[in-house]
Amino acid sequence: MRDEGKEIPKKLPGMIVSFADMAWNKTGSWRYLKPRYENKTPPCSAGCPAGEDIEGSLRLLAGGKILRAWALIKIENPFPRVCGRVCFHPCEAHCNRGEYDRSIAINRLERFIADAATQKNRRVPKPKIRRRERIAVIGAGPAGLSCAYHLTRLGYPVTVFEALPQTGGMLRVGIPAFRLSREVLDAELAELLAMGIEIKTGVRLGHNLFWTDLKGFKAVFLATGAHISRNLAIPGEDIPGVYRGLEFLGQLNSGQKISLGKRVAIIGGGNTAIDVARSALRLQSEPHILYRRTRNEMPAFNEETIEAEREGVEFSFLTAPARILARAGQVSGIECLRMELGEPDESGRRRPVPVKGSNFIIEADNVVAALGEEPELSYLDQEIKVVRGLVATDAWQRTSKLRVLAGGDNTSFRRTVIDAIAAGKKAALAIDCFIQERGLEALWPKIQIGANGAFSMRQYLKIKDRGKTRSAEIVNLSQLNLDYFAPAERIKRPALALDERRQSFKEVNKTISQELAGQEAGRCFHCGVCNNCENCYLYCPEGAIYPQRTGLGYRIDYDYCKGCGVCMEECPRNAITLEEEER
């Protein structure tokens, strides 16, 4: 019965009550473990080369805030409509839900969000050009335009030089309309260019633009892509009726007429081969893909290969061309060799080895060689190092020449749209840091997402006023409290009926409805990120957790938190960290 100077009553009270209060007893002093709120990195973001805040945009989407979800994506990626269609979505492969039931259909949600924003006429506002340093970007593909976009948003005047008559790069020449409609591509490019980016088409470095012309620019970003198709290197390659994959797609995508025979043999197992085959199908031919390894080794995105199979593309695996045959000056077939898989090569895939005497003939009216592409680098000046046919860069896209950066297909063998977008974004960061004389290496840990080179532009933009809002730790499934989740079916993704597909180049995949989008976004675990679920607040046995006045997040009253760890245990998404108390 401690009284703290209060008067001691002469008689006992009617209940066992002390008139002294216990406010002096800050029971938090008993604590030897200390919980703290710490948002961690969701695996989806770490899996996205562009480091999109997928969890954040899904949370906004589930709350009906579609435009804010869109704005959040746009901070990291200028092309959500394109990516919502053609991205190979490594985020989904990293999604923890994939281990639980099935991953979130993130790709379709990105498409929904971006299309909905367009429908509501939402555009990225035109940024104010605040800086005098001019930047040149060579190549108006996803890498170059991503770099230009981010630099413009950082306030730089940017000029983009494009060799072709139209912008878009590989998005335009390499991707057929049934995967990415021209309308969507044009709209997203127009939106970007309307931000005040100067664009000069028909200008090719080394032809009608020279390094001396670039002297007025503070930095140059080389995003010239990889547009030279590899040779077949077999007899008969020059017979009329033999195409190269990218040429074929380029002609088709630019509206040129291509006359194809009935049987079209496509050689290769990459995305170009699949795109050519599916295009040929839509031109009323019978495509037949010949690949020297098996289905498992195909570098093409599995989802696209599956669609090609469903649409009726024929596949012959372990089949390598030896010679193209001609009849009357036209292709008549391919002499092939049967292959078998031998020891793994440097790519880790088993090397195909020809079976002696296994020669056989596949009849064909056309042959398309889709063996991959290489960058054209004859324009480089000698100070810029080239390794294995690629422009050599460091982790931030910087070449061996000061103020010259490079990124996209000309610097990497990971030739995907999102990798190109990520490279352009990273180059923009490196250029800004260079001009503002910020130490990129020291700054990087504060903005990086995961360990694969992605970073958060959002975090970079607010780095001055706030610390890191998400720790680098990537949350895995075992760190979630699965008692709070129930299995839920992934949405069925709507697509064009198979029998309609041959009739036109209409987009195969469709945008999902708002209802489905909300439902799918609701499946998100929000790994490692507090979404105000209230569990900690409800479970704290000390009543030492308070909702923040802002309505976002919670506050722990360490005067009374005894460090029991119930909050951490009951947090469904591992957004609370328990650490040893420092004494």
């Binding site: 009617g14 066992i16 009550v17 002390s18 209060d21 216990m22 406010a23």
Partner: protein, 384 residues
């Protein structure tokens, strides 16, 4: 049914916090009260809990905060509450609970038996035993009134199925009448962040006894409060309640003493015996705690024999009401002989024949023939 009578009583009493866990044969109490809370008839917070222990813990918390609280249980559920029964009393919280008398397991048995509540004799809860559904409703109101006056918790106790599930007409008083009888609860101390106090702190040998003595005094106060309230109830509702109910006792030489619904059957038997010329009467014990010892001593002064019918068992000593009665009589000179009978355990019917048999055995013998006589036993089935 008796269970609904409880719920109406709680509604009229304007309970503010209800926490209860369903158990047969009490379940309808929880169901009906939760419906009342859901549809707004009763402006109370209904707390769903995972056990009876938690149910009473919730009531203790809410009562400490100054709320009028209610819970209900039976048998195993009451046993699970045991620790907190003590807590509620020593904390001086006027919590009201309905307990449906049900036999304790094993063997599993959901039927009537008073041992569950009587086994909580020393927890300091007041216990009101009922023998009609009307009495159940009125007892809930009485319980709040007496509990809040004396700052002691109270149990309203009634028989499984004979009362809990049997329908009979019940007069439901008007709300204004109840409000006049039962003003809002005004605790002397309650949890108040503006006026912080320390509740139930460490209490050493220097004060513990004094608080226990105050508690014992409160029991005496409660007995007085019960009589007052029982009389006042008559002026409002026309029904009167006292610790003991006397039936044809004026000139009786032999008294039958029992509690619960067996009293209803006993009235019939008393009437029949009177017709045959036997001078018998019935005392129904309504209040088990506080035990009306003084009143019993006086009432039994001129009686030669008393038959106690217990629907309960304290193993090793016998019927509990008989024991309690012997304890209060033992120091009176010339006290009546106490004949103890046990019947109706585990829901076996206490028939008029059983009661008559108890009275006949008492009449035929000067002294009790055994410590407790078990009636209606199928002796041939017992392994000796």
């Amino acid at each position: 049914m008796g269970n609904h009578a409880v719920s109406y009583g709680v509604m009229l009493a304007r309970a503010q916090v209800i926490a209860a866990y369903p158990i047969t044969p009490q379940t309808q109490v929880v169901e009906f009260l939760s419906e009342m809370c859901a549809d707004g008839r009763l402006a109370a917070k209904f707390i769903k809990v995972e056990s009876e222990h938690s149910a009473l813990a919730c009531c203790i918390g809410a009562a400490t905060a100054g709320c009028r609280t209610f819970t209900a249980t039976s048998a195993q559920g009451l046993a699970l509450m045991h620790e907190l029964l003590h807590w509620a009393t020593a904390a001086r919280l006027p919590i009201v609970m309905a307990n449906v008398n049900r036999a304790l397991a094993p063997g599993w048995n959901i039927w009537c038996d008073q041992t569950d509540s009587l086994a909580q004799r020393d927890t300091g809860w007041m216990q009101f035993y009922c023998d009609s559904n009307q009495e159940i409703l009125d007892s809930v109101l009485l319980a709040y009134r007496v509990a809040e006056k004396s700052l002691l918790p109270a149990m309203v106790v009634y028989d499984a199925f004979y009362l809990s599930h049997t329908s009979e007409p019940v007069d439901i008083p008007e709300q204004e009448e109840v409000d006049a009888f039962l003003p809002p609860f005004q605790p002397p101390y309650f949890l108040d962040t503006d006026n912080p106090r320390t509740f139930y702190p460490l209490l050493g040998p220097e004060y513990y006894m004094e608080f226990r003595y105050q508690m014992e005094q409160a029991m005496e106060k409660a007995l007085k409060a019960f009589n007052e309230a029982g009389t006042e109830l008559k002026t409002i509702f026309g029904r009167e309640y006292h610790p003991i109910e006397y039936y044809r006792c004026e000139d009786a030489e032999l008294i039958l003493l029992t509690a619960g619904s067996a009293a209803s059957t006993a009235r019939v038997v008393i009437d029949q015996m009177r017709v045959k010329g036997y001078p018998v009467g019935l005392m129904k014990i309504r209040l088990f705690r506080p035990f009306p010892g003084q009143e019993l001593r006086e009432a039994l002064r001129s009686v030669a024999k008393i038959t106690v019918l217990d629907r309960n068992l304290s193993p090793g000593i016998g019927g509990i009401f008989a024991q309690e009665l012997k304890a209060v009589l033992v120091n009176s000179p010339k006290h009546p002989a106490v004949f103890s009978f046990i019947a109706g355990l585990g829901g076996r019917d206490i028939t008029p024949q059983i009661i008559q048999q108890a009275l006949e055995i008492t009449l035929a013998n000067d002294r009790p023939v055994a410590h407790s006589v078990w009636l209606g036993l199928q002796e041939e089935m017992i392994n000796k």
